[in-house]
Symmetry: C2
Subunit: 299 residues, 2 copies
Amino acid sequence: MTARILSGTAIAKEIRKELVVEVAEMKAKHGLVPGIAVIIVGEDPASQVYVRNKKKTAVELGMKSFEYVLPADVSEDKLLGIIADLNANPECHGILVQLPLPKHINDGKVLMAIDPEKDVDGFHPTNVGRMVIGSDDCFKPCTPHGCQQILVRSGIETAGVHCVVVGRSNIVGKPVANIMVQKAAGANSTVTICHTRTRDIAAHVRQGDIVIAAAGVPKFVTADMIKEGAVVIDVGIHRLGKDEATGKDILCGDVDFDAVKEKASAITPVPGGVGPMTITMLMLNTVKAARLAHERAKR
Amino acid sequence: MTARILSGTAIAKEIRKELVVEVAEMKAKHGLVPGIAVIIVGEDPASQVYVRNKKKTAVELGMKSFEYVLPADVSEDKLLGIIADLNANPECHGILVQLPLPKHINDGKVLMAIDPEKDVDGFHPTNVGRMVIGSDDCFKPCTPHGCQQILVRSGIETAGVHCVVVGRSNIVGKPVANIMVQKAAGANSTVTICHTRTRDIAAHVRQGDIVIAAAGVPKFVTADMIKEGAVVIDVGIHRLGKDEATGKDILCGDVDFDAVKEKASAITPVPGGVGPMTITMLMLNTVKAARLAHERAKR
């Protein structure tokens, strides 16, 4: 059997189409334009590419985008001041601070300063707590939410099945486990979280009907760790070097794709799997933030 | 083999002895007396017993206790006003609102009104989020924290072992799973959460080196579901009726104790297991809240 390829690129496109309609409706009915602010500190070229892509995506969806490109030596106070202004700005519904920040700035303090109602990245503890509790008004962190949407929109049954998460990072492993265990549509899985301290990790992963690989190690999940017919979601992305012929980056994920695809029933590729979902879920969260802000203002 | 009985009563006593010393030191060094406020609405006799016990325990430990016994028809605004006063009161370090509340009062709104720095119950989303992220400044919810302390203080290895949690409530199942998976001492377990939608729950529980039973169903976990030598923590407490001879309540947990104790290597009894830990962890959180408040004030 060769696995069905679950295209995050295609699913992200589908969600964006829906968002274009939702944003147009918000504008027509309420004069409301969802707005996202992206703050970047310093000149890291990769971060600048992300920020440009975020702006481009926001504009394509009919949303407003505010960018703040700050010098690498900006003071923490100055950054906190900008966040305070954005917290107070009714045209800004989502605030994203591009990480990593320079060492003289306290990441945690900055992320805590973002109003949880505008925390579209979903990393503020209040949002994490709401997600764990199962509140409807949380913003699910973008990458874990993207994993869930790939499963749901590919028609993969999650209820009652065993979902094994490899990795316990605050960005992917823990939140995706907490999302999949909820008593909710697209979730309701029995969830196991494995990590660096797990004994016989292969034996655990081999039990997964769904395996979400977020180990942060290239090709960590090998074919012998996968049950015949499992669904495999690969969150990793690693550069292995450049293809000499084409000059393009050679990328791989946390899964040994070529071998695992012969055993799994469905698998996300790298690139084109979870990656394209992340930015789309950020926009979806911003549209949700705008809707919730509008509802609060009406009360 | 008959299991070692893990006495929550004895462990709680040990922790309280430590708290007496810590509270006395705080008083001597900083003139600081940890204070807990307990608010109860209505005349539920069981709740009144809990509140009396909390006061008694606080006083025994050298702490201050403030009780608010409010009539069942108290308005939500009045209750929120009391919480606002307690949030502002520097002598009060912990606030506990005894649940359930009467129907005309919104539980969620009331719990959200408690300052997270005084949320010694650990149910505020901000605290839940901090716990999941692994922040040192969170208040772990009392019952899950009690389960962890029983394991730690009984010398049971948690790192790398498979901990299977039965139940996904916001009060026990989800938080205890999130506690046990942390990269931290007394945790570091591979964690599986099972629940009502789990297929073949017995097969999952049977893999547990540690089983934490929080299903809310009397004697749900039977001997055939337990691996030989497993450690079993029973969170449930149910009244099965009265003993005709003695007139005492017949209690049981979520575990079929008599049969399981012949297979497990260690097990908590009901009563005298997790139960006595809960109130102790509440006091421990209040002492921590006082310490953190004192440190914040110094800055």
